[in-house]
Each structure stands twice: as C-alpha cells, then as structure tokens.
C-alpha cells in the first residue's frame, strides 16, 4: 500500500482541528518534521502541525512561500475551488453543512419529499415485480 498523497509544496490540505477548522489551505513550506507553513487566501500565513491537516488529492504549482497575490493566482489557475466542490469528499462536506443548517420547517419539507420519493420507488418496484411474476 504505497502512499498516494504526499506533503509537498503546493499540496492542498483540509484543516481538521482548531480555529480554522474546515478550511482548505495550501502547504507553502515545511518547517520541520512536524510543522508546515500554510497559507490560504483568507488567512494570515502561519505554521500548523501536520496532525491538524488532512491531505487532499489536489496539488497546485507554486514555488516555496509565494506571496499572497501569486498564491491566489495559482489557486485560480488550478481551479481548486471547483475541483474540491465536485470531488466526492468536497460534496460530502457541503451536504453535511447544509444538513446542519436546516430549519425545523426545512426538515419537515425534506421528510415529505423522502416519503414521496419512497412512494414513487415502491410503485415502480411493484410494477416490476408484477411484470416478472406475470
């Protein structure tokens, strides 16, 4: 089982603990065995322990410690946002956020929609069963 995602300059990681929980950051430098210098368009560049990061599949092409402008340009060029939001991991996180922000009324509407969908599926299943037995 070789490793597929490496810590390298330009690797996009997800912060999984702390003040910036849930943010996508770019590893712009490695400080030592345990820490990396990370940067994101909406935060001040700073150090973070690798334990707080979860590596993703996305990598961008940057030199070591670029300035903010270059970093943002590189992120745009690689289209990180869309790649992330279309990946299954990214989509899962979006769904989780949406579910957490649901209103009581929204939850009710979803319940109605689920029942409706299940009803339609059951009808189709019944039809298919009839066809196979007939």
């Amino acid at each position: 089982m070789p490793f597929k995602r490496y810590v390298e300059i330009g690797r996009i990681a997800l912060v999984n603990y702390g003040k910036d929980y849930g943010k996508l950051v770019v590893i712009v430098d490695v400080i030592d065995q345990n820490r990396a210098l990370v940067d994101a368009p909406d935060m001040v560049r700073g150090q973070m322990n690798f334990k707080r990061l979860t590596l993703t599949d996305i990598k961008i092409d940057i030199k070591r410690v670029p300035n903010k402008k270059t970093l943002i340009a590189a992120l745009e060029a690689a289209d990180v946002k869309n790649k992330w939001e279309s990946s299954s991991w990214g989509r899962k996180l979006i769904v989780q956020k949406k579910r957490a922000s649901l209103n009581d009324f929204d939850r009710f509407k979803i319940m109605l929609a689920k029942i409706k969908k299940a009803g339609v599926v059951r009808q189709e299943l019944a039809k298919l069963k009839k066809e196979t037995t007939a």
């Binding site: 957490a100 649901l102 209103n103 009324f105 009710f108 509407k109 109605l112």
Partner: protein, 262 residues
C-alpha cells in the same frame, strides 16, 4: 487683593474662560440644546492624575475672572429664608424595641423580556401541557408577559391561548400576520370567569350549573374565527406550511437538540 487687577489684560486674552461669557442666571435646564458638549478641561494622564495642577485649574476655570467681575469675592446667593418648620410635638409613644424599616424597593414590575427570536408571526413549538409538540403561530406578548398564540384552530386544534415563553421553542419560520388585529386580546379576556356562589342549591342544582358553563361563549368562537381567517390565508400562500403546522414536533433518533437549528 489690589494686585489682582493688574494681571489681567496682557496675559489672559488667549485664556478667556467660558465663565466670562456665561451669565450666572442660566441653569442647565434652561437651554440644554444651545450648549456644545464640553470637553474635559483636565484630562487624565493616568487614572487619578490630571494634567493640570490645582492652581492651573483655578486659572482655567476662570474663578479669578468671576471674582473680578464680582469685585474681588466669589458671588454668593443669599440664603433662602428657610420656611419655618411647623413645631413638632414630641411623640407620645416611643416603641420599646427598635422597629426595623423595610428597605426601599424601587423596582417596577414589567412583562418578561421577549426573546429577540420571537416576533409576531413566528412559528413556536409548545413544549409542555396539553398541546406539547404543536407548532403554533405567535401573535403578541400580553402585559402579564405571557405569549398569545393561536394554532390556527382549524389547522391544529390550538385555540387562542396564552403560553409561557419558557415553555416554547422559537423557530425561524415566520408567518405573515399583517392582516390580523390582536388589539382586543388581553389577560382579562383569558381570565377565569368569577362565579357567583350559590350556597342555597346543593346536590343536583350544582351539577346542572356546572354543565351549562363548560361550553365556550359564542363571541369567543367568533374571535377565533376572525383571527384565523386572515392567518389561514397567509399560511396557505406558503407551500407545505399548513401541513407543517398540523404536524407535531418530536425528537427522532439521531437528533441532538443542542445541535439543531430551529
């Protein structure tokens, strides 16, 4: 004292204190709008230590100028002749033990503070009582602090009713209540009717009277209908809202109240 008069003209033209321009007869209450907010004359360097010394402050306040205007002495008002207090007779009775006076209580009773999330038209979830779990529409807060809510009655069976704010979850769903007038409802409307006690009739008489009084008077039913008519119209405008209000709320498996957004 004479030396004071010599000092004024060359030194103090730059320091004209405001005191010279104000007349002594105007008080704060007479023309509050004309005054500009006064900047502190003696700013704090640190807490407890002003920038200017006592003698400098005396000069800044213009007390020297007020005195000069008044001929060397600070102007005094004559003491008002104190109204002769009526001669108090010594009391006839002194209590043996000191009687304690109750402490002064200047608190005013006012209705409970309404949560910011509760505004007219908010859908509330009632948590206790006969209608627990029911989703109702909030109309207004009464003077006692209780909340006036209605089902509407046709939708979920909750009539015009008072509910305590503490037994209610406010959702973020709002219903349009602009067409509803709730002015006539107050705590007295909901109070228990005072029954005239009739001790003469006992046994059968009593039971007959009780049965009569259990039905709602017609005017209350009409009030319910008028309030609900406008409400139901605005409820039906929103899809699924009517069935939402008709359904009861319950916690299902996996729902964590502290994580739920209502």
């Amino acid at each position: 004292m004479l030396g004071l008069g010599q000092r004024f003209p060359p030194f103090h033209t730059a320091f004209e204190p405001a005191a010279l321009h104000r007349s002594y007869t105007t008080t704060e209450s007479m023309a509050p709008k004309d005054r500009k907010p006064h900047v502190c004359r003696n700013p704090d360097l640190i807490r407890g230590v002003g920038k200017y010394s006592r003698s400098k402050m005396y000069h800044k306040r213009g007390l020297w100028a007020i005195k000069a205007k008044n001929g060397g002495a600070f102007p005094k008002h004559e003491k008002k002749a104190a109204a002769a207090a009526p001669a108090e007779k010594p009391p006839k009775f002194y209590p043996a033990d000191d009687v304690k006076k109750p402490l002064v209580n200047k608190r005013k009773a006012r209705p409970t503070k309404l949560r910011a999330s509760i505004t007219p038209g908010t859908v509330l979830i009632i948590l206790a009582g006969r209608f627990k779990g029911k989703r109702v529409v909030f109309l207004k807060q009464l003077s006692s602090g209780l909340l006036l809510v209605t089902g509407p009655f046709k939708v979920n069976g909750v009539p015009l009713r008072r509910v305590n704010q503490s037994y209610v979850i406010a959702t973020s769903t709002k219903v349009d209540v602009s067409g509803v007038s709730v002015e006539k409802f107050d705590d007295k409307y909901f109070g228990k009717k005072v029954e005239k006690k009739k001790k003469k009739g006992e046994g059968e008489f009593f039971e007959a009277e009780k049965e009569e009084k259990n039905t709602l008077p017609h005017d209350k039913k009409d009030d319910q209908k008028t309030v609900d008519a406008a409400l139901i119209a605005s409820i039906e405008a929103v899809p699924d809202l009517k069935s939402y209000l008709g359904a009861r709320f319950s916690l299902k498996s996996g729902m964590k109240p502290h994580e739920l957004v209502f």
